[in-house]
Subunit: 190 residues, 2 copies
């Protein structure tokens, strides 16, 4: 990171979110994002590989926080408890409601970005599976806790985004976990 | 479909699976697939938009079968039961163990194909959500039953593929549903 460009990443993310929202993802160029952020195009590419990546800058942090939360959960905690701790850790770094909503609208409007978001979620599920296995959780419990944990996160996030923003994301995570428990407690056909 | 090319789709799928397995996805051309299937390149493109699509030919059928199974479930069936019926319907058309395993190996080896597979699963989850809502299942139960249903299917499929093939896919679906029930029954941290 250049020493004359403090917080270049943060400014690039903000500029990209603004421009993608104003003009659409397709009609915005990296040059325009860099200009609005007050940095050079070269600086942009030092931080992000392409136009998509600036919208997924937080993915690595999310993964790290989720893995750490699973590792830190008490040894006695069952898989769903460790998974819940991971979801709460992830929720703690999601930007505010208005910003998350803007980002989601940009992603929903573009097939390429929707694919990238799916890859992000799949990567988080894999990391969560690995972290649960690392605690000694056997299969298929580790994969199921991780995959359903990410499903809960996705549903909770969409409900949060679609709502007024009065309740916070952890509220919707708890609501979705409760609903999942009710759904799976019902008898399945045999 | 040309009247002089009976079962062109089936032969193209078989030829693609063979060639992708022998040479890899990247090094196989549509011309080679068409030649092995005994049809023209033009016929290939009448059936599939590109090199990827021939591997995902069954996606629409899977979606239709899952939607129909949900619609056919008794009105009294809880969401998880309707979802289970959808997963069993999907399992009933999955090709045999050896072929499913070959297809999966091809997909795992290529990032573009892994993305396409994720999109397929997301599309199935959306269709399942819609079918459950159509039964009057409220949110977030509809989304959660659908998303966790697809998660169960994914985990079960991977376990089936990774195993010897003695037990069938529905066996792994039941095993995963049971494991999910155990996982979610455990208390979550509050």
């Amino acid at each position: 990171m250049g020493r004359w460009e403090p917080n270049a990443r943060g400014r690039l993310e903000q500029a990209a979110l603004e421009l993608y929202g104003e003009r659409g993802f397709e009609r915005t160029t990296v040059v325009e994002i860099a200009r609005r952020a007050g940095v050079t195009e070269r600086t942009y590419f030092r931080h992000y590989a392409d136009k998509r990546e600036v919208l997924f800058a937080g993915s690595d942090l999310l993964r790290d926080l989720m893995e750490q939360a699973v590792a830190r959960a008490p040894a006695s905690a069952p898989p769903i408890e460790a998974t819940t701790a991971a979801l709460e850790a992830a929720a703690s770094v999601i930007p505010d409601h208005a910003q998350a909503r803007r980002r989601q609208a940009i992603i929903e409007a573009n097939a390429e970005l929707r694919e990238r978001e799916l890859i992000k979620l799949a990567t988080l599920a894999e990391a969560l599976t690995g972290a649960l296995r690392g605690r000694g959780v056997p299969e298929p419990a580790a994969s199921l806790a991780a995959e359903t944990g990410i499903a809960v996160f996705k549903v909770a996030f969409e409900r949060w985004i679609g709502d007024t923003g009065e309740a916070d994301l952890p509220h919707y995570i708890r609501e979705s976990l409760d609903a999942l428990r009710t759904v799976t407690a019902e008898p399945a056909r045999r």
